[in-house]
């Protein structure tokens, strides 16, 4: 395993609209196990942010505790990060977002962090429709404490220790759909072609964007009988279809077959093109998404790709009616009533 990042970079690394190269989006060297699915997610985040020309410092990275929650160190090194408390990242993200609505909030969590200790906070951040991207790196086990089953482990899945999981799994996508999430997707860390455009769409989406990324744990849950191992996932995966994300400012050049594509315009004017793999799924219909998930589950398959989205929605700031100017930037003159107002209040208390 490498512990030093080579400083050499190709002199003609391509630059994005900001003149930044992919390297400007990297973070510290990962200390996760080699082959960990989570590192591929970090790579996809770097790719998506680079290609969208997002200024790295305009992203705030938030996480809970666990292997997944360590990853924000490994991407966007010029962005502030907050590795908070186990299962409580949603609340920290909520406060951060309320303080400054102008940053991009990227929450990184795991199946233990979101489906067990943090299940309550997960459900509530969804129903508040906080404007953020919420990624769960889902490996069905607890990595940092050496491989115990998590709440997303499937019934019958066998971990490295040879234990058969007897409990029903929690499907976070289903839960998110039930709680009113306005963007729900599932992906696989090994499928960058799908994950990068999904991330771009999630970033462009206004409101709560959830991506459940199946991300195998190479050390503790990559056995042939594990339903979250590379082999099993590759054999049982099925995509809703290929996805293209076209940012608002770009011209649409590709030609799409009308019968097989679905075009969704996002809040900021960007466009998502879905090449329909699953003709039954209507990504604008919550019920259709739930049915598609259930149908695939019954058939023992994973359905990945964009499952549902609601481009026009009210996020938490809309609901609370907060000012356009970030709350943290308001000064004394804007925040503090004067002594005269206080004397009027005194009078009302006599």
């Amino acid at each position: 395993m490498s512990y030093v990042r080579p400083s050499f970079r190709h002199p003609q690394l391509p630059a994005n609209e900001l003149g930044l190269t992919r390297r400007d989006y990297e973070g510290s060297l990962s200390t996760l196990c080699s082959g960990c699915g989570h590192d591929s997610i970090s790579g996809a985040i770097i790719q998506a942010c680079f290609e969208l020309s997002i200024p790295p410092h305009k992203v705030a990275k938030l996480s809970g505790i666990g292997c997944s929650s360590k990853t924000p160190t490994y991407f966007l090194g010029k962005a502030h990060g907050f590795n908070s408390v186990h299962g409580r990242m949603p609340s920290v993200a909520t406060g951060a977002n309320l303080a400054n609505r102008d940053l991009i909030y990227l929450g990184m969590s795991g199946d233990g962090d979101s489906a067990s200790i943090g299940l309550g906070q997960f459900g509530h951040v969804v129903r508040r429709n906080l404007n953020m991207i919420y990624i769960v790196a889902n490996n069905g086990c607890y990595g940092l404490t050496k491989g115990q089953d998590s709440a997303t482990a499937d019934v019958g899945s066998v971990s490295k220790a040879g234990k058969v999981n007897p409990f029903e799994p929690i499907d976070l996508c289903t839960l998110a759909l039930h709680q009113g999430a306005t963007f729900v997707a599932r992906s696989f860390s090994g499928d960058k072609d799908q994950l990068v455009p999904l991330l771009k769409a999630a970033i462009a989406h206004k409101g709560f964007a959830f991506i459940d990324v199946i991300s195998p744990c190479v050390t503790f849950n990559n056995t042939p009988q594990s339903t979250k191992g590379y082999e099993f996932v590759r054999d049982h995966i099925e995509a809703t279809g290929k996805i293209d994300f076209v940012p608002m400012k770009s011209e649409i050049t590709a030609k799409y077959e009308p019968d097989f594509t679905h075009e969704v315009t996002l809040h900021d004017g960007s466009v998502i093109h879905l090449y329909k793999g699953d003709k039954e799924l209507d990504v604008l219909d919550r019920r259709s998404a739930l049915t598609a998930i259930e149908n695939h589950k019954e058939a023992g398959r994973f359905l990945t790709g964009l499952l549902y989205m609601e481009p026009e929605n009210n996020d938490l700031h809309d609901t609370l009616g907060t000012t356009r100017k970030p709350l943290r930037d308001l000064n004394e003159a804007e925040l503090c009533p004067n002594n005269h107002a206080l004397q009027v209040i005194n009078d009302s208390l006599r």
Binding site: V85, L98, L330
Partner: protein, 613 residues
């Protein structure tokens, strides 16, 4: 039979059934006393229930200005059959027992040393009102009218009071006045009036206002610049954020857009409430949450994070009787130790302890400056008595030239001009307070990773023991810095006059001041006193302890939590810290304190220091 005889000095207790609208009628009585210019202190002693259980409302009227609980009741307004037996038993000899005599009093209820005043409240209501709800509500107003006659109160005060109370609901003015009149007339026609206990107009109120501590805190948070409030409902703290939102809707609306310059989130639990506040504090907004004991327990993991990662946040703890669910609607000062050392590992938290609504307002506003300056949680330790009762308080003031202290935050320009490497946890100025940056400030400089794990001065993860110790020791030096920034204690004398001292804090202030008066007047004892207003203790507290042979610590908890804190932090001899405590859920009274101190002093055969002539 001796009958209690006094003018403007008495305690009246109302015994009601909760959920019947009695609190507002009883409040009207207290406010009328206030408007007559007589100092008044009202305490609502209510059950953890919405309807049907006994509830009491205790009003102390004191021309001399004593605002603490006195202990004992001179007049009992007993309109709850459930508690009547106890209510009668508790009445002072020579007192007055006002009851509903629509039905004859239970023959078992007898005392020959009190005056019974029967008024057929139910019968009057049945005659006057057809709606059952009105019958219930106006019964309370009728006995207030009766009291007006019995105590010779200025009826004109009620006319304006009712008009003020129902501003915007003018339809209710006349029926309320009518109900008052019914009670007043009944007394005039059927009973002796005024009683030997009476009231008269006075001028002892001055500019003072009647305000609840929770409302003062909510308003203080508005003036202090808080923009994010997250909370989970819990008695007795609920009205803190409700007040913040109420005043926010009045004072913090952007005139152009109608948008709000604040955000309130009712969280799913206390964990989320403090998490939201910490997230907002991390990102540069002034944020707070309010809770009570059980919430404090739930929040303690996050408090450790904010302590260790150095994130400003304000927590308002309106203490109630614990442990566990305890007595949710009774007061105590029993979260002192769990708040001071909240969270696992070596932690110390800054506490501010207000005693009055005015101080609650000021400390709430100041807590945001302190949190930003010290980059740590600030816990405002209020309690149910201060928070939920209306207290006579000095009026609120704000200096319009006051500027917020946002602490050590590097702006984009400052980062741009920096020619040294930014270290989030580097002690640059020698006060152990490092510089921080807000997310999104500068494209290439000042970003760091906030974490609850150990790190070095540059916020890099480390498991090096040396780096860990350097950081923990710096946090201790920051604690020393805090001692000079937190509110100083209030001494009651310029120079030590006695070898005996008294330390107290929070809402026991009035009872303690009265106890000092009693000891001076009745025992000829001059006792030095110090009111603690914050933790960490600064030098004056330490000095007060060393300057006095013995210091009584007065508090409302079983274990003497402040005493433990003094012993621990000041390394002070426990034998020199006798303790006076009350922890039955009611506020400590002057007589509790006097009795507790006399017991110790007599036992030790102290020769009292005579009062200076």
């Amino acid at each position: 039979m001796r009958r209690i005889n006094s003018v403007n000095e008495f305690v009246i207790r109302f015994a009601n059934v909760n959920g019947t609208g009695s609190a507002s009628a009883n409040g009207m009585f207290a406010k009328a006393i206030y408007r007559m210019g007589v100092p008044v202190s009202a305490k609502n002693i209510f059950p953890s229930n919405i309807q049907g259980l006994p509830t009491w409302y205790e009003v102390r009227v004191s021309e001399r200005g004593h605002l603490g609980r006195r202990g004992g009741y001179d007049i009992m307004v007993s309109v709850n059959p459930q508690s009547m037996e106890k209510d009668l038993k508790d009445l002072e000899p020579g007192g007055y027992f006002l009851y509903d005599n629509t039905k004859p009093l239970d023959p078992g209820l007898q005392r020959d040393d009190v005056t019974f005043l029967g008024i057929p409240l139910t019968e009057i209501c049945r005659r006057e009102y057809s709606d059952p709800r009105q019958r219930q509500l106006f019964k309370n107003v009728i006995y207030v009218g009766a009291l007006a006659a019995l105590l010779d109160m200025d009826f004109q005060v009620f006319n304006t009071l009712v008009a003020d109370q129902f501003k915007g609901k003018e339809k209710l003015v006349a029926p309320n006045l009518h109900a008052l009149e019914l009670g007043y007339q009944y007394v005039k026609e059927h009973l002796e009036s005024p009683l030997p206990i009476t009231t008269r107009r006075s001028d002892r109120i001055g500019e003072r206002i009647l305000l609840e501590g929770n409302e003062a805190v909510g308003l203080g948070a508005i003036y202090g610049g808080a923009t994010v409030a997250a909370w989970y409902p819990i008695t007795p703290s609920t009205s803190v954020v409700e007040a913040y939102e109420k005043y926010g809707n009045r004072l913090r609306i952007d005139p152009g857009s109608g948008n709000r310059k604040f955000a309130v989130v009712q969280a799913e639990d206390e964990l989320a409430a403090i998490g939201i506040a910490i997230g907002a504090g991390w990102n540069g907004a002034r944020a707070f949450t309010a809770t009570s004991g059980p919430g404090l327990s739930l929040m303690s993991e996050f408090l450790g994070l904010a302590y260790f990662a150095e994130i400003p946040v304000v927590l308002v703890d309106v203490q109630r009787a614990g442990p566990s669910t305890g007595m949710p609607t009774r007061t105590q000062q029993s979260d002192i130790l769990p708040a001071a050392y909240a969270s696992h590992g070596d932690t110390k938290q800054v506490l501010l302890i207000p005693a009055t609504p005015r101080e609650a307002f000021e400390m709430a506003a100041a807590s945001f400056d302190l949190a930003d300056r010290l980059q740590t949680p600030i816990i405002l330790m209020s309690d149910l008595d201060l928070g939920m009762n209306e207290h006579l308080s000095d009026p609120l003031e704000w200096d319009d030239d006051r500027r917020y202290d946002r602490g050590k935050v590097l702006s984009e320009d400052e980062l741009e001009r920096m020619n040294t490497r930014f270290g989030r946890y580097l002690d640059v100025d020698g006060d152990a307070i490092p510089y921080r940056t807000y997310p999104g400030s500068h494209p290439t400089r000042g970003a760091f990773f906030t974490r609850g794990t150990s790190r070095d001065e540059y916020a890099r993860y480390t498991e090096e023991g040396d780096a860990y110790v350097r950081n923990m020791d710096r946090l201790l030096r920051k604690w020393e810095t805090a001692k000079s920034l937190v509110p100083a204690p209030i001494p009651y004398q310029e120079q030590p006059q006695s070898s005996i001292g008294m330390i107290f804090y929070g809402s026991s202030v009035h009872a303690c001041e009265e106890a000092l008066d009693i000891l001076r007047e009745e025992d000829g004892l001059v006792i030095d006193a110090l009111r603690i207003r914050a933790f960490p203790f600064n030098r004056q507290v330490q000095q007060f302890l060393t300057e006095h042979e013995r210091v009584f610590v007065v508090e409302m908890n079983r274990d003497g939590q402040m005493r433990t804190l003094l012993m621990n932090e000041c390394e002070h001899d426990p034998a020199r810290l006798p303790s006076v405590r009350r922890y039955d859920g009611l506020s400590i009274t002057a007589s509790d304190i006097v009795a507790g101190m006399r017991r110790v002093l007599d036992r030790n055969n102290v020769v009292p220091l005579k009062k200076k002539a």
